[in-house]
Amino acid sequence: MMDTLHDVLAPFGPQAGHVHALWMLTLAVCTLVFAAVLAALLIALLRAGRSNAQSAPDLSALGRPEPGRRHGVIAAVAASTLLLLALIAASIFTDRALAKLSTDGALRLEVTAHQWWWEVRYVEPQVADTFITANEIHVPTGRPVIVTLKADDVIHSFWVPSLAGKKDLIPGRTTTMNFRADREGAYRGQCAEFCGSQHALMAFFVVADPPERYEAWAAAQRRPAADPPPGQPLRGREIFMRSSCAMCHAVDGTSAQAVRGPNLTHVASRGTLAAGSLPNTPDDLKRWIADPQQIKPGTYMPATQLSSEDMDALVGYLQTLR
């Protein structure tokens, strides 16, 4: 499995960084208040005398005001109010800081969430340069990213804890979120809105590369799949086209252009399979293709029943799709 980061308390971009700062402030204030309330309670428990059910109740307070106590309560409420107002202000300032992320020269992505995988379209100024991938997003470090968020079926939520807060993807609505990854690394994200049987295994990765490595990756992604070498991989492509694979998956450069499942043109270049559920190894790929229900019960991908030679050929072909 990819070695990844996914921690609200380990921010690697400005958006997550602003939230982290607010978190530290709020944690400090809340801990202080909690400790103060508990201390007051503890002192009250320790200094109050003891009694039992027969002890006469103290009715002296009836009709006579208790100025000392009243001032104490008022002071405590006033202090709490001031602290709350401060936290409200801090929250609003953080909101503003988040909104001020510069989007000059931003990379534009369109993420469409499906049950239970992520479709990612890179929107380029030249339409011919647009490419589609799935479940693994590469971005250059230090460059802002504007992600347009759509949902194909039910509500999902795009959440990469180390980079930014989440945003819901709602059918019928289009929205955007911005972030920037400042450090190289692989940041794990996961769907954060209950979306059905396989909500639990709907992860994705944001891989931040230095700009040159990103450009190399993007150039490779733009290229259609090369013809596989003759022999087993070529036979694997035939199997791909003639089995149920081509009914849902696209491989650019072939006649398989369906959009119901993840685009597989460069599937071998990804670190994981099945929305982060499996490492991308031949054995895992075989297990997944042979019976997806064993790994993600409820998934819409049907089982593909092939002889072991045919399965080897198919997987061999898929491995050429870098």
């Binding site: 921690d7 059910a53 709350l84």
Partner: protein, 654 residues
Amino acid sequence: MDQPRHTPASHLKDGPGRGSREAAALDATWRDPPGLMGWLAAVNHKSIARRFIVTTFGFFVAGGLLAFVMRLQLARPGSKLVGPDLYNQLFTMHGSTMMFLFAVPVMQAVTIYLLPLMMGTRSVAFPRLNAFAYWIFLFGGLMLYVVFFLGAGPDVGWFSYVPLAGPDFSPGKRTDFWAQMITFTELSALVEAIVVITTVFKLRAPGMTLNRIPLFAWAMLVTAFMILFAMPSVMLASTTLITDRLVGTHFYNPAEGGDAVLWQHLFWFFGHPEVYLIFLPGLGFISAIIPTFARRPMFGYTAMVLSLIATAFLAFGLWVHHMFAVNLPELGKSFFTAASMLIAIPSAVQIFCWIATLWSGRLNFKTPLLFVLGFFFILVLGGMTGIMLASVPLDLQVHDSYFVVAHLHYVLIGGAVFPLFGAFYYWYPKITGRMMSERLGRWNFWLFFIGFNLAFFPMHLLGLRGMPRRVYTYQAGLGWDTLNLVSTIGAVVIALSALLFVINAVRSLRRGALAGVNPWGAGTLEWATESPPPPCNFYAIPVVHGREPLWQGPRAVAEGGAPAFTHVSGLAADTREVLATTVLDARPDLRVNFPDPTIWPLVSALAVTALFLGSIFTPWAVVWGSIPIAIALTAWFWPRHSETAVHLSLERKP
């Protein structure tokens, strides 16, 4: 039915105490008829409340067992104990049970028992409607569990977001059963709210002015008003969901002009006040327990009342904080941040007033007080995480993660369940006549407190480390393994503590020390009568002179120095006659004839159940199902000669 023969112009009036002819007549009048039919036809508030409390507690145990299985599944990564379909049903049933079948109903059930005793009267208002509310609740809850046990439980979360819960993505009738359960339970809650409001306003002992009623009664009054305004929103939501699924309306279909976010607004407009419906009664319990165990009246009564009211109003202005991740205008969201933070202020007022009361009191460290102290720790911690979640940027990181699961359990269990357990230990002697075991009570408390923190504190960290909610499994190596295991161990400890409670409650029924009238030395009126109370609650209606009637007694003779009245008498002893008083000053106002036990609330509830169940399958059930309901309601209201004869004679010769 074994009722005394009604003779017109009866001479027996209430007033004399136990042992007299009048007291025997009162007992015969107010007790339930014998046998199975008598049990089904009972309308005495204590009978209804006892079975209501037991039923809600049964749902609590069921919901807890569901959660226990969930925790077993999540104890290890990649566990195959429970698959996704069953897990989704488990967490949907757990949430729905706890929110709709336990948390709000149990508070109403306890109120239905206590309120007339606290107010110094013989019945709740509308006793037959009260019985109807119980039956409707029971049938709705049973329906949900029958469906679950048959493998068709709802599986889209207790909040049932569309489009996942819509006709396209939730095939079959699972979600329809959930939506109809909402209809059952919200009807029950609305009816009980009407009963509570009317009881508090009109059925108080003479002299119990509105600013002398116990803080618990204020909490339940405010809660009841909140129910009136909040429940219609979810009833509308669930009804539109049913019509979308059953007859093809387009409320939630974006392609035809609907909007998935409409559901969220309608649901959370109810859903946020819902948690305050659960929280406010808990505050009422605390306000009842602390004065008794601090041996002094509550500090800051007026501030407490105003805080309850302020909380109720503010609670309706917070709902969008459940929707911060939706693309709504940012400025609007900031308003809800401010409101969500400011609602902490009235709660803070209450906390500080309680601390002030404890500070200046003399403490009796019995089990009810222990649970109150547990409340302070857990609820305040939950309130702190609530402040964190109120901020939009912070929420956008931890929304829909285990951080929220931790928060909600800290505030709901800390804010409502701990006070509820304290209340059980406090009022168990009154209800049953026996004391619960103090030793078992302490074990119960400490196991619950430790188990709870062990189970739920790690969830804060899990959320911060990226673990989303509502996941049936997770992969190894993400840093979530150990925390999940610790949480499951905590769940085991909680289960043990619940078991201890049940053992304590059952054993003490036979073996507990006899409680006597006022074992805690408390000051409110329910402690003025026997334990358990006689069927008529009080043989003579007390007159109240202060906020703590038993502590102040008839000493309050401020006006003129003449001795004050202690009781009023003159209500009929051989028919169910109740004294209604004015709203503000509780001056005697009306003598109202309350109904005898009758089977028609149960029959009406069955008829309504048939309509609700039928309308899951066909819209025509609404038409045809109305006929049995009309018949049942007609029979319900049809006057009976014997009753009318007695009422007329009482009008002529009161």
